[in-house]
């Protein structure tokens, strides 16, 4: 059996990559991909930790919920990005700034 530390390192790496993508990338869709990476890092953690919880396996059922909600969130986000593209002809974040004084 693979020791749990390996899963944790992988998920921490995914979290870090996702965070860097969110901070540095300018395109809304790429930022969304970074968010998905963090969600998957969390999923990996949940599933890895559920080996300590063999009767209830709450972690695995949690991960299933996360997958579904991530899909819903991505659908809403892409719909909104499409709407923004309709008005601004871009999905680059720093070009979308009409609000404010």
């Amino acid at each position: 059996m693979i020791p749990i530390a390996h899963y944790l390192f992988l998920s921490a790496a995914l979290f870090g990559i996702g965070l860097v993508i969110i901070i540095t990338k300018k395109n809304a869709i790429v930022v969304l991909m970074g968010i998905e990476l963090i969600l998957n890092a969390a999923n990996l953690n949940l599933i890895a930790f559920s080996q300590y919880d063999p009767t209830l396996i709450q972690g695995q059922s949690f991960a299933l919920f996360v997958i579904i909600i991530a899909a819903a969130e991505a659908a809403v986000a892409l719909a909104i990005i499409l709407k923004v593209y309709h008005f601004y002809n871009t999905s680059v974040l720093h070009e979308v700034h009409n609000l404010g004084d």
Partner: protein, 511 residues
């Protein structure tokens, strides 16, 4: 092949789920009404949309009736855990449900189209459905004691909010929606990662279960703090507290006003509730000391950032956005004390905050209806033309500042005295700083809250284009919001009597 004991466990669980249903009626009524409104919207002609709002109103009133039945049974001492410890039904959560229902009903009344003119807000059926869904999400979040349930309820609120924000289909709405969903998704992803770590630390998702607390006690403080901060970031996003306040001004400016009024109240209070439950699970581990300092710093920064930014605003809705960030800080003060008095003060503040914030947004909506602009400079001189509205504006703004004779003063006074009481008993310097910054911020907030009444009465009208539209429903609604704000200053014991009977149930007692 499952063995007998497993089957027995399953039967017990199913029995508990069926037993829980009878304590879950308000939420069921909301869920059923969502489906009914959806079907009605599909099969009827588009012109009959006004009935959709009526349906939603009836649904919320029915839910209110069911919630008051719950209150009565909880008064007889029947606080309980539902659905295998997923949710807790204590008096505090029932109180919060009333607050959310009032917010929902006020939102529906605010978006009611006036008959004589074209509706200011187009009301697609989806908007009504999503609003009821949002109320359902806040109901669930204030009751959640399981990390999975917290995540689901929070996402229900978030997804409904993102869509509602963009629903108008205009340019500002789409930009606001984009900023809202990106910030929201990032903070909820952080929260989820933190939750996964907590699951690893404790092997349990029930935050008030003794095994959860026992698990936390064995963990080194550093990973515990990191994981705690990650989880709390999701809650702070809902409260719009520093440093997760960035989305609020743009979203408030770009979304329809009734929806914004709801955003500024219900998700914020629901977020506070889950923060209270979460930090109290922590406080058993004797880590509350530095959590108190972290949250006090968040409260101080939210108040200060919100107030200083609000002074510079020219757009009325942006001003109210920063003001709601500052109020989030004041609400957090009640939590930071970690005392029962502080929580009671928080509940009082929350109840008053709903009334005064909805009054403020109604005023902005009425003034916008007169000048067709949200820039505060265009409100000049309107107070002399519409004296009643002007006087009501003064009362609402004084209440938001926290001056007598309004209940806003009572609320701030309770918050400050709870901080003082906590400082007197624990002598922690951070609480003293909190008190000083709170008072200091109340003075600063005077500058921008009184700007609107000042413009209304003491400036010559610059714009001649004033539409003389009568909007009876909104005016009456405003009067009915202002009356309790004044009344509860003189008779604050009425509300305090209710709040003093409220208890939070934090830890499950094994019988």
């Amino acid at each position: 092949m499952p063995d007998v004991s497993q089957m027995q466990g399953l039967t017990n669980k199913l029995a508990e789920i069926t037993a829980s249903v009878s304590s879950f009626l308000p939420e069921i009524s909301l869920a059923v009404s969502i489906i009914i409104i959806l079907i009605y919207d599909l099969i009827t002609h588009k012109r009959q949309r006004q009935y959709l709002l009526l349906f939603a109103l009836v649904a919320l009133l029915l839910t209110g009736y069911l919630t008051s039945l719950q209150w009565l049974s909880a008064s007889r001492g029947a606080e309980e855990f539902l659905f295998n410890d997923m949710l807790v039904l204590d008096k505090a959560s029932i109180f919060a449900k009333f607050v959310f229902l009032v917010a929902g009903i006020l939102t529906i009344l605010m978006s009611w189209p006036d008959r004589a003119h074209k509706p200011m807000l187009s009301i697609p059926g989806e908007q009504v459905i999503l609003l009821v869904g949002l109320v359902l999400g806040t109901f669930l979040l204030c009751m959640s004691v399981n990390l999975l349930m917290v995540y689901l309820a929070l996402e229900l609120i978030s997804l409904c909010s993102y869509i509602l924000c963009t629903m108008n289909g205009d340019k500002p709405g789409s930009e606001a929606g984009l900023k809202f969903i990106l910030f929201g998704a990032v903070s909820s992803a952080f929260m989820l990662y933190g939750m996964s770590l907590f699951y690893g630390f404790t092997g349990s998702l029930h935050i008030n279960d003794p095994s959860f607390v026992a698990g936390l006690e064995t963990i080194h403080w550093l990973p515990l703090t990191v994981a705690g901060l990650l989880v709390i970031s999701g809650f702070l996003f809902k409260i719009a507290a520093f440093p997760f306040q960035v989305w609020a001004p743009d979203v408030y400016q770009g979304s329809p006003t009734p929806i914004v009024a709801f955003f500024s109240v219900a998700p914020k209070i629901a977020g506070l509730f889950i923060l209270i439950r979460f930090t109290n699970a922590y406080s058993f581990v004797d880590l509350a000391t530095y959590w108190q300092e972290i949250l006090a710093a968040v409260a101080i920064l939210s108040m200060t950032v919100g107030n200083f930014a609000a002074i510079r605003q020219k757009n009325a809705k942006r001003m109210l956005a920063y003001s709601s960030i500052a109020h989030g800080g004041f609400l957090l003060c009640g939590l930071v004390t970690f005392t029962d008095f502080g929580l009671s003060a928080l509940l009082f503040y929350a109840a008053i905050y709903v009334l005064m914030n909805f009054a403020a947004f109604l005023i902005v909506m009425l003034l916008e209806g007169k000048t067709h602009s949200l820039e505060m400079d265009t409100f000049k001189g309107l107070g002399l033309k519409f004296p009643v509205l002007g006087v009501l504006t003064i009362v609402a703004m004084i209440a938001l500042t926290g001056l007598p004779p309004t209940a806003g003063f009572t609320a701030k006074f309770l918050i400050f005295s709870s901080i003082w009481a906590a400082y007197a008993s624990s002598a922690k310097p951070i609480l003293l700083y909190l008190l000083i910054f709170g008072l200091f911020n109340t003075v600063i907030s005077l500058a921008y809250y009184l700007k609107i009444p000042y413009l209304l009465f003491f400036k010559e009208s610059a714009v001649t284009m004033v539409s003389d539209r009568k909007d009876y429903l909104k005016n009456i609604l405003l009067v009915f919001l202002i009356i309790p704000i004044i009344l509860l200053f003189f008779k604050s014991e009425w509300l305090l009597y209710i709040i003093n009977s409220i208890t939070f149930v934090f830890q499950k007692v094994h019988k």
